[in-house]
Amino acid sequence: MELIFRVNGRSERLELQGHETLLDVLRNDLCLTGTKDGCREGECGACTVLVNGRAVDSCIYAAMAAYDADIETVEGLAKNAGLNSLQNAFAESGGVQCGFCTPGFLMMLTALLDKYPHPDRDLVRDALSGNICRCTGYAQIEEAVARHVEQRSGE
């Protein structure tokens, strides 16, 4: 079966069997290995990507369901100028340790911030209920969001 979609703004055309997950297609067919596989059961959020702006667990999302959709992955965040503001805030706040959860957090937060540009801490925590970080204990991730919001409103 043919899958045509856009990933980080580029059109892609792939031949699939039909049962593949979006996670496998991104990682194996498109070599976009930034999206991580932590559980394949929709529990950890490491595989989070945006499908038409919605954050989904790509490990339990059928690739074919993304036909004609716009996909954004962690590889699409940094622009030519370097890390985007959220990524920078993560770096500066110490929101990254082993980094395996990080792409998923960034994508979930990108979706959240798109809809709620000034989330309070409770909303951030609630929105992160589908993302597990085993290293940081979350505080510096939450701080990164606050830092990003602050810097953006300062602009």
Binding site: G34, D37, E41, E75, L77, F90, C98, L128, C135, G137
Partner: protein, 764 residues
């Protein structure tokens, strides 16, 4: 300009934030094969036949391997007892029986499914109680034939994998003379490290050598273990490190590495990648061991401790790995915080037909502290004295010794920790003001900085930067990407941008003891300092010639060398490096370090495989919890850590380690538990195994005490590990306080809490 004490961004942050960072699971090659393992479906059994014929003829299959195809040998960290594949006997559910490498993961899985397995299931030794009953089946009937990996054999017998005994006749006298005896029995369950990256490995066999790619905490241990399993010299194995998606002690010994290596050999040298799925990972991960402990304390009228007896059983699972060391840790911990009088310690590591356990962060200390602190609360309650006061009265002091005779030079830091805590949260006031359904707890601990050796080579590059060649690994802690980087930068007055640290490669870098026990910053940082001093000497030699000045008249400022007091004379390091390269040869220096052995009394216990407690740090934690009266769920509303750290190299890094460790500890205290029924885990997915989420976790208030260590790099000691050890302790104490009933099991379950609530309601 100093970079010490600055929250510099970790050097690997950008790669991890853009998806560029390469973890083992991201490894790819045009000729890559995908491996899969057939794992035992039963916890114990005799293998009658493994028929691989059908699997071998399936499309895409490049090799099938079983015990028949690998060297007939046993391997192990401390004891050579573990086969690569079970050949005759299966000892735990999930134990590898066969492997397949194929062109695609689907083909590999299909081939695994096609292997015909004939196992006669036998009675499994499901738990420690079963293992210790008379006439219990032996997990290793052939235990006598096993040889230690190095050194002398140690106390072990039957289903006891390792035993420490420290005894003293005065203990019985103490109990005879006691005015009060307080007795408790505690249990704790297994905790799964639950790093977000399941284990994976790539093996390549080429030119008669094995190359292994793995994101691993301890590459040299992989080298040595793979060499054991495959019966080659360690130098025939090369281990190349990758970014590590979390480890917490589970990635210290081999997981998939030797399987990937042997399959590559059998498949004609094509690289073979093995990746655990989450269930496989849970079933086979060296999780924190479950344990039980009986503590009995003899006290006089004033509450002074006359003596104590402590019997601890730790579940080893089927193979012992590094666990054989651990009974000693219980022994050291037993005298590390409070004065205990005459003591008897019996610590046993018990074989069962369950997955082998391992050293998760805060090994032994997490449950030991929970048990000890609950016991302290119990004694204080019996005596009718304040819990904090009672602890203060019994703290070890500077100059006191551990049970092995090792002198604690700085133990007064414990008292100082209590004082700092008092400033942040005055105990009496907290107690008085706490709301209904709230409880508070306080606990103290002493923890080690692991002493294993490390080494560093520093190369001055012609562009003025410095390359740090080391096999030290950054498991995410920042020990390399912040710690070592900043330490090296500081020595030369450079910025972190001028420092390049290599990924581990056992062919290139010197031996390193791995990221364990908070050792990397302390040990490797110190090794880097030694190398830096030597390299600086070389730089000054060359610069002296170039500046026509005496070596002693030179200084190094902000990455430049010049004559003292003459800023115009300064020369960039790059110029010096270039000059050196073309005159006397490129400049490089190396340094090695390990903690000097601490004097101790070897006769104080039998079975003490881990003889002393190096470079201790001191800790006091406080927690306030709220119990939900409807459900029995517990929520941590306030958490404070006072931690002695030697010296803070990177404040954001230290904070991340403490916050992360406490959250893992809260996870274990309240949710995380691998339960065993019929020798099998109940929890087999992340849906069943509950990890802490952002919504439930408090922001930890952190107070660091700096007490620079004379041999640490700029005074730094270990930081990463210990903040976990007191979390279950303070939480169990706080829940007990909230409900006025002892909670002596970790995790504290809502079921147990709700029972207590119901009981309380009945009593009105």
């Amino acid at each position: 300009m100093s970079v010490l004490g600055e929250s510099l961004v970790r050097t690997d942050a950008a790669g991890k934030l853009t998806g560029e960072a390469r973890y083992t699971v991201d490894y790819d090659a045009r000729d890559l094969l995908h491996g899969a393992l057939l794992r035992s479906p039963v916890p114990a059994g005799r293998i009658k036949a493994i028929d691989t014929a059908a699997a071998e003829s399936l499309p895409g299959v490049r090799c099938v391997v079983t015990a028949r195809d690998v060297p007939d040998t046993l391997a192990g960290w401390v004891l050579r007892e573990t086969p690569l594949f079970a050949g005759k006997q299966v000892r735990f559910e999930g134990e590898p029986l066969a492997g397949v490498a194929a062109d695609t993961p689907e083909q590999a899985k299909a081939a695994i499914a096609a292997i015909k397995l004939d196992i006669a299931e036998t009675e499994a030794v499901g738990d420690m109680k079963a293992a210790l009953t008379e006439n219990a089946p032996l997990v290793h009937p052939e235990w006598k034939s096993y040889q230690p990996t190095s050194g002398e054999d140690y106390p072990r017998y039957g289903n006891i994998a390792s035993e420490l005994v420290a005894d003293n006749d005065d203990v019985d006298v103490a109990f005879q003379n006691a005015d009060l005896i307080v007795e408790d029995e505690f249990t704790s369950n297994r905790q799964y490290q639950a790093y977000i990256e399941p284990k994976s490995a790539v093996g390549i066999y080429r030119d008669g050598r094995y190359t292994i790619h793995t994101g691993h905490q301890y590459p040299f241990n992989i080298r040595d273990r793979v060499a054991q399993y495959l019966a080659v010299r360690p130098s025939q194995v090369r281990v190349i490190g990758h970014s590590i998606g979390g480890g917490f002690g589970a990635k210290l010994d081999t997981g998939l590495e030797p399987y990937a290596a042997i399959m590559s050999k059998l498949a004609g040298g094509r690289p073979v990648k093995l990746v655990n799925n989450r269930t496989e990972d849970m079933l086979t991960c060296p999780s924190r061991e479950n344990a039980t402990m009986k503590i009995r304390s003899a006290l006089d009228k004033q509450g002074n401790l006359l003596g104590r007896e402590l019997i601890c059983h730790m579940d080893n699972g089927a193979y012992s790995g590094e666990m054989a060391f651990m009974p000693s840790v219980i022994f050291h911990l037993a005298g590390s915080v409070y004065k205990v009088g005459n003591i008897r310690v019996i610590a046993r590591l018990v074989y069962t037909n369950t997955a082998p356990t391992g050293a998760m962060r805060g090994v032994c200390g997490v449950y030991f502290s929970a048990f000890q602190e609950r016991h302290m609360d119990h004694i204080a309650d019996e005596l009718g004295v304040d819990r904090r006061e009672y602890r203060l009265n019994n703290l070890v002091k500077s100059g006191d010794s551990l049970l092995n005779g090792q002198v604690l030079d700085d133990a007064d830091l414990l008292r100082k920790g209590f004082e700092k805590m008092e400033e942040a949260a005055p105990w009496k006031q907290q107690d008085k003001n706490k709301k209904n359904w709230h409880g508070i707890g306080i606990a103290a601990g002493t923890w080690i900085t692991n002493s294993m050796p490390g080494s560093v080579q520093l190369k001055l590059n012609e562009d003025g930067s410095i390359t740090v060649v080391t096999a030290a690994t950054d498991n995410g802690s920042g020990a390399v990407s912040m710690g070592i980087t900043q330490i090296v930068a500081e020595h030369f007055g450079l910025t972190a941008d001028d420092i390049v640290v290599t990924m581990p490669d056992t062919d290139v870098a010197g031996y390193d003891g791995g990221s364990q026990g908070s050792r990397t910053t302390h040990i490797v940082g110190r090794a880097a300092g030694i190398a830096a001093d030597e390299l600086k000497g070389m730089i000054f030699d060359v610069a002296a010639g170039m500046l026509e000045a005496g070596k002693d008249d030179l200084e190094m400022v902000d990455g430049q060398v010049g004559v003292v007091g003459d800023p115009t004379s300064r020369m960039p390091l790059g110029d010096i490096a270039t000059a050196a390269t073309w005159s006397r040869g490129p400049l490089s220096a190396s340094g090695s370090y390990t903690t000097e052995p601490v004097p101790f009394n070897p006769g104080c216990a039998s079975g003490m495989l881990f003889p002393y407690f190096p470079t201790p740090t001191y800790h006091v934690h406080f927690a306030e919890v709220e119990v939900n009266p409807v459900t029995g769920n517990v929520r941590v509303v306030r958490y404070i850590v006072v931690q002695e750290v030697g010296r803070v190299i990177n404040p954001a890094g230290v904070r991340g380690q403490i916050q992360g460790a406490v959250v893992q500890g809260i996870g274990h205290a309240l949710y995380e538990s691998l339960r065993i029924r019929g020798a099998r885990y109940l929890e087999r997915s992340l849906e069943a195994y509950r990890l802490p989420l952002a919504v439930d976790m408090p922001e930890v208030e952190i107070i660091t005490m700096e007490h620079p260590h004379s041999l640490g790099p700029f005074g730094a000691k270990g930081v990463g590990e210990p903040a976990i050890i007191l979390a279950p302790a303070v939480i169990a104490c706080a829940v007990s306080d909230a409900l006025g009933k002892p909670f002596n099991r970790i995790p504290v379950s809502p079921e147990e809490v709700l029972e207590a609530i119901v009981e309380k309601e009945k009593q009105g």
